[in-house]
């Protein structure tokens, strides 16, 4: 349904150091699926979605939605797409209902259909209580629901959402998740970006992990996690260890049978991340540590998560990536780019 092929996009240039937002990114979203784009902030998710939604032209590459070339026929693609942007754009002076009516007119909906469809979405997203109040008085969750309704108004075949649940209360998030799943079940293709692992894990049929403007892993959540194999173990010998002790423990662990990929995580008080082949290995580890007279402050074991998939592909965790990217981004330049 959505084909992004070899997309490249570079921002900045003259005054600021250019940022390669997309670097030969290719992606294929099957029709009727709920597809997740997972990646840290600054990975290029928003840029990819803005290009898909005809708000931005790529430096190179192809975009197709339902077989239509988005660069050659943007208006046709706009009719197929519903876009729910990351920054919620509403008019504070209008009521929610007025905003939906405006949106309907921008999509050339007939008057009768406009009323029926608005009523339908107000009920679906549980907005009756406040839809006639001015948007300026809405909470973040209300705004996001209204924005979702606006994106769905013209019955798009493809719904694109950029970080739809960032900063939302639990109730609004649950409502939005439920609606997205219903949409998918009824045949709409849904593409959402997120930097919440659990959101993509819970919702997406397939996902692509994006880092540095390119796809580094792609598949179903189960397949991606299953491919890693083994269980994840996080070990802390003390609450705050030091480098010397950590490397001593690492050498000890690495020597154990059934243990692989021992990594010292400096960001978390020199804790150790490792992979064990089966649960029995953990007991062996405890014995080994006791023999070496090392305490165990905390030992946690879990099935592989999407974060482990990310870690495996990039060598860092998603949250560490967010921190390192935060310093490199030129927010002013990005804001300028997003201002159309």
């Amino acid at each position: 349904m959505i084909e992004l092929q070899h997309l490249s996009k570079r921002f900045g240039g003259r005054k600021v150091e250019p940022v390669q937002a997309l670097d030969d990114l290719s992606l294929s979203v099957p029709a009727g699926s709920l597809y997740g784009l997972l990646g840290p902030n600054g990975a290029g998710k928003t840029t990819a979605l803005r290009i898909l939604c005809t708000l931005l032209a790529p430096d190179a590459g192809q975009v197709q939605v339902a077989g239509v070339d988005a660069l050659a026929e943007p208006r046709t693609v706009r009719r197929l797409l519903g876009y729910v942007a990351q920054e919620v754009a509403i008019d504070k002076i209008l009521s929610g209902r007025e905003l939906l009516h405006l949106q309907a007119d921008l999509h050339h909906m007939p008057a009768a259909d406009r009323l029926a469809r608005t009523a339908e979405l107000i009920e679906l997203l549980a907005m009756e209580a406040w839809i006639d109040r001015r948007c300026g008085s809405y909470s973040g969750g209300m705004r996001r629901r209204l924005d979702l309704a606006a994106g769905l108004l013209h019955r798009p075949r493809v719904l694109v959402l950029d970080e739809p649940t960032v900063g939302l209360d639990i109730e609004s998030r649950a409502t939005i998740w439920q609606v997205l799943q219903q949409l998918r079940d009824q045949g709409t293709t849904v593409l959402l970006s997120s930097h919440y692992l659990e959101e993509v894990d819970a919702l997406a049929d397939r996902l692509a992990i994006i880092d540095g403007g390119r796809v580094i892993a792609e598949g179903t959540p189960t397949a991606l996690k299953g491919a890693l194999g083994g269980d994840r173990v996080t070990l802390r010998v003390r609450e705050f260890s030091d480098e010397q002790e950590a490397s001593r423990v690492r050498d000890l662990l690495a020597a154990c049978h059934g243990v692989r990929q021992v990594v010292v995580n400096r960001a978390q008080g020199y804790s150790l991340n490792l992979v064990v082949e089966d649960s029995g290995v953990v007991e062996t580890l405890r014995h080994q540590l006791a023999e070496a007279q090392l305490p165990v402050f905390a030992l946690a074991q879990s099935r592989p998560s999407l974060d482990d998939v990310y870690l495996q592909a990039t060598g860092r965790t998603l949250s560490d990536a967010e921190l390192s990217v935060a310093g490199r981004r030129d927010l002013k330049e990005e804001r300028k780019q997003s201002m159309r």
Partner: protein
């Protein structure tokens, strides 16, 4: 929560597409309605917009109330002379500010909502602003003309009124297009406000709004005779003087005499030119 109904309506094929006119009208009216709803809920713009030119008219008119008889060409009073200038300047200022709401829409991301919608023509955004500003200018102009009549500065009469209307429409279209162009070209509202601020008063002083060309040194006379405001002021002033034949000479410029029809044609040319100039800017936002 009830069941979702995404209702995958088939995309209409090109052959069943409604007419371009119907679609553009729907877009334009919806966008215009939004501007009027905003105005109705925040009427301070309208109140200030009506009061300000009235204050101009009363104070400026009084400033030269005791000017010697026969000072102005045709021996008319300064208040009567000033009316046309205030009407045009008011419409001009309103139109020059037309880009501000669009700039704020850009900054708050609301414009993205318009740009991802399958608008038949992005000119609808321009048309909506023009409709809105023209209506606003008409209300302001009627208030000015009514006040001018009460102050004894005369009334243009039926055909004159039509001339005032056409002139304002052309000027508003041209200046609104310019302002929207700036709203797309400049980086932010600070820069836009700066441009508006710098352009506004000099264009007023370098026009025939406050004094006739015969009062000015040659260099200023030339400027005034090239200033688009002058081409709007002079036909309206002529209408106030009781003349509304399009062939009457209304402006004696250093480069020759112009009749009302020529002034209007120049304004129309300017409006068309500026509109064509900003069209590509609107479309570039698409790529």
């Amino acid at each position: 929560m009830t069941s979702a109904s995404p209702s995958l309506a088939p995309v209409p094929s090109a052959s069943t597409e409604p007419s371009a006119f119907a679609e553009i009208s729907q877009e334009t009216l919806a966008l215009t309605r939004r501007l009027f709803v905003q105005l109705a809920r925040r009427p301070s713009t309208l109140v200030a917009g009506v009061l300000q030119p009235l204050i101009w008219l009363v104070l400026f008119g009084a400033l030269f109330a005791n000017a010697p008889e026969g000072l102005l060409p045709g021996g008319i009073s300064y208040g009567r002379f000033l009316g046309a200038g205030v009407i045009v300047f008011t419409a001009f200022s309103a139109a020059l500010n037309a880009g501000l709401p669009v700039m704020f829409d850009r900054e708050f991301g609301f414009l993205n909502r318009l740009l991802v919608a399958p608008l038949r023509s992005r000119s609808s955004i321009v048309f909506a602003s023009v409709l809105y500003i023209t209506s606003l200018s008409l209300v302001q102009s009627l208030a000015i003309m009514g006040t001018a009549a009460l102050l004894g500065y005369g009334w243009p009469g039926g055909a004159g009124l039509l001339l005032v209307l056409v002139t304002l429409l052309l000027l508003v279209f041209a200046v609104t297009a310019l302002s929207l162009g700036l709203a797309f070209a400049l980086p932010g509202h600070i820069e836009l406000i700066a441009v508006i601020f710098v352009a506004n008063l000099p264009l007023l002083f370098a026009s025939t709004a406050l004094a006739p060309i015969s009062f000015m040194p040659p260099w200023l006379g030339w400027l005034a005779a090239l200033n688009p405001l002058t081409f709007a002021i002079e036909p309206i002033r002529a209408a106030y003087a009781g003349s509304f034949r399009l062939t009457d000479v209304v402006l004696v410029a250093p480069y020759g005499s112009l009749n009302a029809a020529t002034c209007l044609a120049i304004l129309a040319g300017l409006a068309a030119g500026l509109f064509l100039l900003i069209r590509p800017m609107l479309d570039r936002k698409l790529t």
